[in-house]
Amino acid sequence: MFEKISVILHSVSQQMVMKLKDNIYLQLFSTFFKIGSFTFGGGWAMISIIQREIVDKHHWIEEEEFLDLLAIAQSMPGILAVNISTVIGDRLRGIKGSVAAALGTILPSFIIILMIAIFLTPDTIKNDPTLTAIFKGIRPAVVALIIAPVITTAKSAGINLKTVIIPIAVALLIYSGWPVISNPVVFIVLGALGGYLYFTHRHMEQRMEEKEC
């Protein structure tokens, strides 16, 4: 009798675990929870981890599409990390998917900061020599996590010797800190406008050639 019950319970629980594992919303949530838990240094540092998880491991989106989604996320106001997860979740499973992904990104940070606000005074963290040493090691690694996708995205963006001047100029001008011209929004507008003009121009040329034939 008891054996039977335990066998039934076992199979039921296994079915539930399987169902949970197959649930795409739960997968989205847990993937972005993981990403959110290890994102030091803001949204740009997420890119390496997102690439590994979303593009390489789960194959949810292609590298090239990832770059387009990144452009959308960057051109909207708000927190970059949340924007990226929203747009990826939406592309995969619509609004429900974006809620799952955004919640996953927000929750780790929310829980950790709330614990600190309730239980710790900021000074105990700031003056802790162990934590300070650990974070001296983490910060340069985070910079590396942002350099790596520069190379990988340059490949998937199809950058060649002729177009390599665009990312270099954009990076240096933003870095310069000059007024107006160091604003990323300027380059997003110029990039979209330039791309559109080039695209339609090429289209027209192709049509002209077809007519001549």
């Binding site: 452009a71 900061i113 963290i125 974070f135 910060r139 590396a144 790596a148 199809g158």
Partner: protein
């Protein structure tokens, strides 16, 4: 009490809506709208620098971190944290969904196709600029010994992420352990 909540919501709605250009650009907005205002006397400029320091030591976007922390300190309750975090996220979330749906619907149009073709090299430049801007004293140290150690960690991490299949999360953990050992 209610006015504190309303002011908190108003401040973080603005921060969410006008916060272009990532966490550090958002900081100046937070500073102007929250620090030294009469509705939140508990938030001083000292609290503000604390939040920045804590944000650098904990995972997560600085916009979320500051909303959670300031929401709690200003109201003295967890509800304040939830309210502030929710209001900073909601407007951009809705805008993102609209943009994403609009772009998906017009994916085949010349405007969208052409724009993204031009945007791709720009995004590569944006990521590169983020990396350049972070190569500063705060992240690489100020003494030459610190800089040498930091650059070594940075290069080793870069090689690992680029050439191996080792997960970036493991690289962060390893860098933390190495930092503990050598700093």
């Amino acid at each position: 009490m209610l006015t504190t909540y309303l002011r908190l919501i108003w401040a973080y709605l603005q921060i969410g809506l006008f916060g272009f250009g990532g966490g550090y650009a958002m900081l100046s907005l937070i500073q102007r709208l929250v620090v030294g205002n009469d509705w939140c006397p508990t938030i001083t400029s000292q609290t503000f620098t604390d939040i920045v320091a804590i944000s650098q030591m904990t995972p997560g976007p600085i916009g979320i971190n500051s909303a959670t922390y300031i929401g709690y300190v200003a109201t003295g309750s967890v509800l304040g944290s939830i309210v502030a975090t929710f209001t900073v996220v909601l407007p951009p979330f809705v805008l993102m969904l609209c943009a994403s749906h609009f772009i998906a619907r017009h994916q085949e149009s010349a405007v969208i196709k052409g724009s993204f073709m031009g945007l791709r090299p720009v995004v590569v430049g944006l990521i590169a600029s983020a990396a350049l801007l972070l190569m500063n004293k705060e992240n690489f140290g100020s003494t030459s010994m610190e800089v040498i150690k930091s650059v070594a960690i940075c290069l080793a991490s870069l090689g690992t992420v680029y050439f191996t299949k080792i997960h970036p999360i493991l690289v962060i953990i390893a860098a933390g352990i190495i930092g503990y050992l050598i700093f």
